[in-house]
């Protein structure tokens, strides 16, 4: 089977993505920025659930922590937006790792429920620490401005805040995706996947299961936290009830629809969770979520391994057909 030409395709897509801000309206740009943000969050969740087999129904919590970290830093201490991103990432890395330690004792269903509990508690906790988080009123931010050299009157290139945010998000996306790709392709990645497939065998082979699982939790949380921080800039407003259980469930939907254990799957899933609810609204004003639910079920029937999974299958079949083997006919 011929290898899928990942690099050329990715580069081509990147070029297209870089050109979009100059032909799209601000509103569309906002939507695409949201897609990229979701993609980063989904990649985070996928690393944990898809590649490492630890089901998390609570990643909305890390998204919230990232968003609020950024919002609080901007609101209380006037930190420039770009600097809040790595801080959010590191904070979530630590929180995720710490959560991952007791989580080691929990299997499948119970881990899912423990993370679910975390996601449920977050809005209440955020409302409680009113002094920092603004309580249920939330924190209103201003959309981050592009740096001076991109907006001053005599600058060579002028970017609107929408365009700046888009490019920033795209850049972070590319960096994080490349990092993940390298991580998962190497020894660490193999160890992570080995733990998912057969934890006992992996341990017997010398993989420090506990350390890897906790670290994976941390990295996964960091990714989703950075996504959350970016969303604070894009939406320019954070409120506790936004980060409810439904967000965590939406993220889970995203990785399964996109394709578990797949890096491009994060991008497919992101497109799905961003745009399909809107399409459902177009189709039926009366019961749009019923349409969304039907979409979900049909998708799972037709592509039980997600979009990425089905594409992989299709590519494999194509390869066999090209090679002229009997099964390809």
């Amino acid at each position: 089977m011929r290898r899928f030409p990942t690099l050329p395709v990715a580069l081509a897509l990147l070029v297209v993505a870089a050109m979009l801000p100059f032909v799209m309206t601000g509103f569309r740009l906002f939507q695409f920025t949201q897609v990229f943000i979701y993609a980063i969050a989904l990649l985070g969740l996928n690393i944990l659930t898809g590649f490492n087999g630890q089901i998390s129904l609570g990643h909305g919590a890390f998204y919230a922590v990232g968003a609020y970290t950024s919002a609080i830093m901007i609101d209380h201490w006037n930190v420039p937006f770009v600097l809040t991103l790595p801080v959010a990432g590191v904070l979530c890395l630590v929180v995720g790792f710490l959560f991952g330690i007791p989580a080691l004792r929990l299997e499948g269903l119970y881990l899912a429920l423990a993370t679910f509990a975390l996601a449920l508690a977050i809005p209440q906790i955020l409302k409680y620490f009113e002094h920092w988080t603004g309580g249920s009123q939330g924190i209103v931010l201003s959309k981050p401005d592009p740096p001076v050299f991109l907006r001053a009157a005599d600058a060579r290139v002028h970017l609107t805040p929408d365009q700046w945010l888009y490019f920033l998000t795209l850049a972070v996306l590319v960096v994080l995706f490349v990092l993940a790709s390298n991580l998962l392709a190497g020894r660490t990645g193999r160890a992570i996947v080995a733990i998912r497939d057969n934890a006992i065998a992996a341990q017997a082979m010398g993989v420090n299961s506990a350390l890897y699982k906790s670290l994976t939790f941390g990295v996964s949380a960091a990714y989703t936290g950075i996504a959350g921080a970016l969303s604070a800039g894009a939406v320019a407003y954070v409120a506790p009830d936004t980060f409810n259980v439904f967000l965590s469930i939406t993220l889970l939907v995203g990785i399964v629809i996109g394709g578990l254990a797949s890096i491009p799957g994060a991008l497919f899933g992101a497109f799905f969770i961003q745009f399909v609810p809107n399409w459902a609204q177009e189709i039926s004003k009366a019961a749009p979520w019923a349409i969304y639910g039907i979409f979900l079920i049909v998708f799972m029937y037709v592509m039980p391994r997600g979009i990425a999974g089905s594409l992989r299958l299709a590519w494999a079949r194509l390869g066999r057909a090209r090679a002229g083997t009997p099964t390809g006919a």
């Binding site: 659930t49 089901i55 007791p102 004792r105 929990l106 299997e107 499948g108 269903l109 119970y110 899912a112 429920l113 423990a114 679910f116 509990a117 975390l118 449920l120 508690a121 209440q124 906790i125 409302k127 409680y128 006992i200 065998a201 259980v245 469930i249 889970l252 939907v253 399964v256 629809i257 578990l260 009366a286 019961a287 749009p288 979520w289 019923a290 969304y292 639910g293 039907i294 979409f295 979900l296 079920i297 998708f299 799972m300 029937y301 039980p304 391994r305």
Partner: protein, 293 residues
């Protein structure tokens, strides 16, 4: 001291609600190895069907049992038609299908019945019961009673009937069960049907207290998960007991721990669950899963 008893009693009443839905969740899990996220919405929808019948003039107990039958058939059909195609897919795929079912049921209920809350009758007296200075509703006791009856029925069914044995076998070891001639597919469907029935009972017991609206079960589902987690997903009795514990604990914390008060009630309940899980991962009464290498 009287407030302590009052809060405990209130907690038991609320906990009974959580436990009854938790029972349905555990039932499906035991029968089919699937955590059905749509359990709450199925219960809600069954209750709406009951409401329609009552509004059309049918007497309460006739409606009650008719709803049980409809729920049973509904659960069965859902399993055979909607879950069957993905039975052998990865567990998360099935979870997504359940989530799809959840949003469909919620959306359709809202579309047909609108979102305004509707009162739902209770078969028990409306008058409050007083023992000393402690007050509780007759309905609260009745609801707990009904839940316990359902629990007893399930216990007897699974322990002492052939069908119950067949269902347990099909869930634990599908391949061997097939070899014994058990029709595993239909056993799963039966499991869903039974769980839907239990859910419908929960819905009809809950609705008189919290009023019927499409989002009625959303909050309760969360607590039901917490209860089942606490009690152990492998133990129906544990699930009900877990519910009662969560209900009481929540109330007592809200009353007696001043700096937490009511603004962190839910968080504390969840923290309790997490602590229990760390100490005993399979829940208070659950059996630890044994992985054969």
């Amino acid at each position: 001291m009287e407030i302590f008893f009052q809060q405990v009693v209130s907690g038991l009443a609320t906990g009974g609600i959580y436990g009854s839905l938790a029972l349905a969740l555990v039932m499906i899990y035991q029968a089919t190895d699937v955590v059905n996220y749509a359990q709450g919405e199925m219960a809600m929808f069954s209750t709406y069907l009951a409401w329609t019948m009552i509004n059309a003039g049918l007497p309460y107990w006739l409606t009650f049992f008719a709803t049980l039958v409809i729920a049973f058939v509904g659960g069965l059909v859902i399993e055979r038609v909607i879950i069957r195609p993905v039975e052998n897919a990865p567990i998360l795929t099935i979870v997504i299908v359940c989530i799809g079912l959840l949003v469909i049921l919620n959306s359709v209920a809202g579309w047909i019945y609108s979102y305004i809350q509707k009162p739902f009758p209770s078969p028990f007296s409306e008058r409050p019961v007083r023992i000393g200075t402690v007050v509780f509703g007759a309905h609260d006791i009745g609801a707990i009673g009904v839940t316990l009856v359902v629990l007893a029925f399930l216990y007897v069914f699974f322990r002492f009937t052939t069908l119950g044995l067949a269902m347990r076998a099909a869930a634990q070891n599908p391949s061997s069960s097939r070899l014994c001639g058990i029709r595993v597919g239909w056993m799963l469907a039966l499991g869903w049907g039974l769980a839907a029935m239990v859910g419908a009972v929960a819905g009809m017991m809950v609705a008189p207290k919290v009023f019927l609206d499409p989002n009625m079960m959303a909050g309760i589902l969360i607590y039901a998960f917490a209860s089942a987690t606490l009690g152990g997903f492998t133990s129906p009795g544990g699930a009900v007991l877990g519910g009662l514990i969560v209900g009481v604990f929540e109330n007592l914390v809200g009353t007696y721990v001043p700096f937490i008060g009511t603004e962190l009630k839910l968080t504390v309940a969840l923290a309790l669950i997490l602590i229990v899980l760390v100490v005993k991962p399979s829940g208070l009464f659950g059996r630890a899963a044994v992985h054969r290498v």
